[in-house]
Symmetry: C2
Subunit: 226 residues, 2 copies
Amino acid sequence: MPATFAIIVAGGSGNRMNASVPKQFLELGGKAILMHSVKAFYDYDPAIGIRVVLPEEHFPLWKKLCRQYSFDIPHELSKGGTTRTESVRHALQDIGDEGLVAIHDGVRPLVSQNLIHTVFTTAFRTGNAVPAIPVTDSIREITTEGNMPVCRDSLRIIQTPQVFDVNLIKKAYALASGNDYSDDATVFELLGMKICLVDGIRENIKITLPEDLVIASALLSLHHPG
Amino acid sequence: MPATFAIIVAGGSGNRMNASVPKQFLELGGKAILMHSVKAFYDYDPAIGIRVVLPEEHFPLWKKLCRQYSFDIPHELSKGGTTRTESVRHALQDIGDEGLVAIHDGVRPLVSQNLIHTVFTTAFRTGNAVPAIPVTDSIREITTEGNMPVCRDSLRIIQTPQVFDVNLIKKAYALASGNDYSDDATVFELLGMKICLVDGIRENIKITLPEDLVIASALLSLHHPG
């Protein structure tokens, strides 16, 4: 297995959480949400090069929180951009050119060791790995005339960590210049390469809205009681 | 407000839960999942005509569970069919022709009083109301060539209870003969009428997989501690 990196993206302003601090800094089970995400990669492999992407104005708050929670897992910081795509590009410039990189949403603190293992080992074979889960609810599409049903069978909900060959994803980001993409798989496709989907896990939720923090907190206490 | 009915559909065999009993009978916070769904409508309005749709072979188990949990909320039973659509059609034949009917998944035990109020009052004005929530994750579509990104902004996740004018939904189900539909909104559209979407709630999850029961259990204990 080649050298590995993890880029944890925490650039969001957290406006949707109705919280005064950005959502990645909110407490979940005794530490900031973002700390869970960082720790998951360290627990998987302490040799992994972990890089957290934050808006530069949040660096002091993050460092203060790390002291406050005695959070001492080694990691580097990269400056966030004005979009997610720009944030990831900055972080990619700060890592080496060989091996695999996992790009992970800082607000997905419940990622499992098994899932991290699956995406790294799959990407080692194929050049990329992106976790996906089936859609179990009915879906509708809003149209100019109203709304209409959409067949859910062929749809998948996409998660992170998404793992890529470092050299290839850097080339893809060079092509993405100036645009914003909702995830890294979509950027990777600019190279004309196929995305390799692997089975994600339902618990690996993205904390976007206040209800998500309630669900995450509950899932965490069930998995790690007391 | 006209007379109201609630049809709680619990026809599933529960194969995806790896459980020996169908999922609607699994325990959640001290009673069967299905009992929470029934109680939500009774708590909203004790005068509502509640009808539970079950496969006929599950009638004895359900009655035994009601005795076991001392569950005495008044309700009638209707015989489930071989598909969800057939199950709902059976239940619609068993209720009156006037007023509004809420059709609800038995495995959505966390429906709130506010949401039930919203769908009934909206349908009173418009003839139908269907709860929907935004998609916050990235979505991909599986195609014959692999998979491709889908714009999530126009997609909505559809929930229940879906409320309809009784007379109209009966006419729609008469048109649906022989086919299976994933939800009642899609059947209602056979009349050529528009679906009226209202804001659903994220907690109103459908318990389909074992992880969902963990999440529901946690959400329930957070909302009703002790």
